[in-house]
């Protein structure tokens, strides 16, 4: 019994010790946080004039000067955070002046030294700041860091920093290679990272798109949502036949956005694509781009087994003027049940839309008493809708 009690006492002592250490750490952290906030306020107030000076002279020809006097570590941190905030906020000459100021203050040099630290967290921190300061000299060090890292959210932080600093496409290509090697399908995020770069990435995306490597193709397609590539229509059209569903869908989406590449011939072929999602996209795009010559084909897709294709076909027909609307009415009368129902829904919807639009213009859409189709008649003075 005594032995058990002794063991229990030791356990209590250990737990009490852990709690004491935890509480000490907790209050130390809180005090540090309070002190940091206070000193940040004090130093911001101290350098208020300098802050005003920097903001007032961002557009001037003169280079910006560092704050007066020697800065202590905390002061430098406060000033650095201000500068980083502005660098990310401004673009062009203003940004360049702020970056030059960071170099003048020795911040870039300091972080370049930290990039060689034996501790990964220090190197990561340095990479983040060097990225913000667009330090091209840091790229080799950051690449080394990126290549040495296991997959974690941190790899994207370093990747973004490299994209900001890179001045050659090869540097971006290497960074992309490492990020894609993790095989996490993070193409949209990598595309977003590439968009941070000041380099023209069109040529690189073009090679990715034609590479035949699925990962690179996916990345190029993701990047093209922001960065359209002139003359990529043929490649995109080829990709609509890809074995990978996501690739053919994304390629179709991009193709459908471009009126030049989305020719009538391609639209017709995509309407009979084996993938229902692609057919639906094509049907939708025909209406948006006003390809009246595809009306006949759209009429046929009203009998498509996929509801989405019928849905978009009907809506696109309604968008193709009176001719399209008449075809829609015909579909409502004669098509298979699903197609006819879809057509009727769109007709109802279109009538409502036209009716509401006509209220403003003095015209209202009504259903003809003797005709199965629909026509416009002028609104009566008392604004009554004829039915």
């Amino acid at each position: 019994m005594d032995m058990h009690m002794r063991m229990a006492s030791i356990f209590i002592a250990v737990l009490s010790g852990v709690i004491a250490v935890g509480l000490a750490a907790l209050y130390t952290l809180k005090l540090r946080d309070i002190r940091r906030r206070r000193t940040a306020g004090v130093y911001t107030a101290k350098h208020e004039d300098w802050i005003t000076y920097v903001l007032a002279n961002l557009d001037g020809e003169e280079p910006l000067y560092p704050p007066p006097g020697r800065l202590n570590q905390e002061e430098r941190r406060v000033v650095q955070e201000r500068l980083i905030g502005w660098i990310e906020q401004f673009r062009g000459e203003q940004q360049r002046k702020l970056i030059a100021l960071c170099e003048e203050m020795g911040l870039v040099k300091r972080h370049l030294q930290r990039l060689d630290s034996p501790f990964e967290w220090v190197r990561l921190d340095a990479a983040y700041y060097l990225g913000c300061m667009r330090s091209h000299g840091a790229v080799p060090g950051m690449m080394k860091l990126l290549a040495s890292m296991r997959f974690s959210p941190m790899v994207f932080i370093v990747g973004r920093a490299i994209a900001k600093c890179a001045r050659h496409t090869d540097e971006l290509r290497d960074m992309v290679h490492v990020l894609l090697a993790h095989k996490k399908e993070a193409h949209p995020l990598i595309a977003d990272i590439l968009a941070e770069s000041e380099i023209d990435i069109a040529a690189m995306l073009e090679t990715f798109l034609r590479s035949g490597d699925e990962e690179r193709v996916r990345l190029a397609l993701a990047a093209m949502r922001k960065h359209s590539l002139a003359g990529s229509g043929d490649t995109l059209y080829k990709l609509t036949a890809s074995e990978q569903a996501d690739i053919r869908l994304k390629a179709s989406k991009l193709l459908a956005k471009d009126a030049v590449s989305f020719s009538e011939g391609r639209a017709r072929k995509l309407l009979i694509h084996p993938d229902g999602e692609v057919r639906a996209l094509a049907a939708q795009a025909i209406g948006k781009l006003g390809l009246r010559s595809c009306l006949e084909q759209l009429r046929l897709t009203m009998a498509d087994p996929e509801w989405k294709v019928r849905f978009y076909s009907a809506r696109s027909m309604a968008m193709l003027g009176e001719e399209g609307f008449a075809e829609l009415c015909e579909a409502a009368k004669t098509d298979t049940e699903a197609g006819a129902e879809e057509a009727r829904d769109v007709i109802r919807e279109e009538m409502r839309r036209r009716e509401s639009a006509s209220r403003e213009t003095g015209w209202v859409a009504v259903r003809g008493r003797s005709q199965p189709a629909y026509e416009y008649v002028p609104l009566t003075q008392d604004d009554q809708v004829h039915a």
Binding site: L15, L124, M154, A195, E349
Partner: protein
């Protein structure tokens, strides 16, 4: 009898040792996981990412039952999130009050005929979809009462985007909560099937225009305890569980899911509370059985503020409901227990939940009876009892302190020293009654389960405007409310 009591004592010691070990292990993983979470959040530029087309489009699903008091403010708040492409789908689950009408009036909604919604998942047929092109991202579904899970399924059927996010109608999302969560998804879309957000208690905080402007601790006792409880669960527990891909629950108040996977598992299960735990279990099971790489992630910096029950009646009702949901989920999924096929989930998460969560009240209760037996049969003395109580307290308190350190290290939401003093003090005070009540409520929940009680229980809605009156909200079928 003495031998029985001694045997029980031995078992109880191993039980306590095991639970302590697992708690510490999870806390350790929380510390390990929080580093990259903090750094990832600090170094990410959410402002630019939130405006980026690269962020995946998200459908926010907001089931609402008798939410007329808070729904407008909450929807307005949801419509102004910092995110590029998203839609808000409010599902009026047959409310008896004017929830639907206040929505129609406030947003001038009109019936939308072309939104039939593709019936990807079974749910109660909807009555109507309402829409106003002036608010192009807002859709309101009106349907007969069918429960929270049914409402979510209806929302999924209407949703237009590949990611869905479930949000309680009485909760407020921070403006950048969605983009923070989306960042986690974007880092690993290949494997991420669900992401949990961090739910914090808004009682005591200042709220203006749907935004928490001043973070303060609750003044009342019950919400204060819950603040600490949530902190312990979300920071000390879920970060660690997600680090080893063993997270068993993503809060119903705020979570994000890949829609295709939710559809694959048949959507949310209906019929009783605990749908948020159930969907995660189904996702784990589906991915593991099909040998697909996956993760259920957690994003502690994506914050959703919710109102905690501030009366005994409502709190006990909520906890009994959780107890019911937990028991039902564990019973239904007992086949996962200790099956190597289900990896960490089957070998650690489920056993932990069954033994240390579901069965916890029975160990506590029998422990108490055993203590009485030891005293009655003169098998112990006050010193031993004191030591036992002290170890119990210190064990729990060390975990509470661990969670507070995590909060201070990573988030520092409560900025004043006074707040920290209160939190450390109340963390100790919780051992004098609150935890014991938790055991009692869970036990009562189990009894309700055995009695096949399938109601949501008592729930009140309080306007975010603190001066407004509270309304009683007891749905016929489980809808709304919040589950941590």
């Amino acid at each position: 009898m003495r031998a029985l009591l001694l045997g029980y004592g031995t078992v109880a010691i191993y039980y306590v040792m095991a639970v302590t070990l697992i708690y510490f292990m999870i806390l350790f993983f929380s510390y390990k996981g929080v580093y990259s979470m903090i750094k990832g959040a600090v170094y990410s530029r959410f402002q630019s990412l939130s405006g980026s087309e690269s962020a995946p489009p998200v459908s926010l699903l907001v089931p609402a039952y008798n939410e007329e008091l808070t729904i407008i403010e909450n929807v307005k708040s949801l419509l102004t999130l910092n995110y590029h492409t998203y839609e808000v789908i409010v599902i009026n689950d047959g409310s008896k009050d004017n929830t639907l009408q206040v929505l129609i009036d406030a947003f001038q909604l009109e019936p939308k005929e072309d939104e039939k919604g593709h019936q990807a998942i079974e749910c109660t047929p909807i009555r109507q979809v309402y829409y106003n092109p002036a608010y192009p991202t807002l859709y309101v579904i009106d349907k007969p009462n069918g429960g929270k899970a049914d409402s979510l399924n209806a929302g999924i059927n209407l949703s237009h985007y590949p990611l869905i996010s479930s949000i309680d109608a009485d909760s407020l999302l921070e403006k950048d909560a969605l983009i923070r969560m989306a960042r986690v998804y974007m880092e690993n879309p290949a494997e991420t099937v669900a992401i949990g957000g961090n739910v914090r208690i808004a009682n005591g905080c200042s709220i203006r225009d749907g935004v928490v402007t001043d973070v303060r601790l609750p003044k009342k006792l019950w919400p204060m305890f819950q603040t600490l409880e949530y902190m312990k669960a979300f920071l000390g527990g879920r970060i660690g569980w997600s680090h080893i891909n063993g997270l068993i629950i993503v809060s119903g108040a705020f979570g994000m899911f890949r829609k295709s996977n939710v559809v694959e598992v048949g959507g949310y299960r209906d019929g009783y509370p605990g749908e948020d735990m159930n969907i995660i279990i189904k996702l784990h099971r589906h991915m593991l059985e099909n040998k697909l790489p996956y993760r259920v992630a957690y994003c502690p910096d994506a914050v959703c503020w919710t109102q905690a029950p501030d009366t005994y009646r409502i709190l006990s009702s909520q906890r009994k409901r959780w107890g019911r949901g937990n028991l039902k989920n564990m019973w239904e999924n007992r086949d996962l227990l200790l099956r190597p096929k289900y990896k960490v989930f089957g070998m650690l998460t489920v056993p932990y939940n069954i033994i240390f969560e579901t069965l916890n009240p029975y160990f506590k209760l029998t422990g108490l009876l055993a203590l009485i037996g030891y005293v009655a049969m003169d098998m112990t003395n006050w010193k031993v009892l004191l030591v036992f109580a002290l170890i119990n307290f210190l064990n729990g308190y060390v975990l509470a302190v661990g969670s507070l350190v995590l909060e201070e290290l990573a988030f520092q939401r409560y900025t004043r020293m006074r707040d920290l003093v209160r939190m450390t003090w109340y963390s100790a005070l919780m051992f004098l009654g609150y935890y014991q009540l938790g055991v009692l409520w869970r036990l009562q929940g189990h009894i309700e389960f055995l009695r096949k009680n399938n109601t949501w229980g008592v729930m009140t809605r309080q306007s975010w405007n603190q001066d407004a009156p509270a309304v009683n909200n007891t749905p016929p079928v489980a809808t709304g409310g919040k589950i941590a």
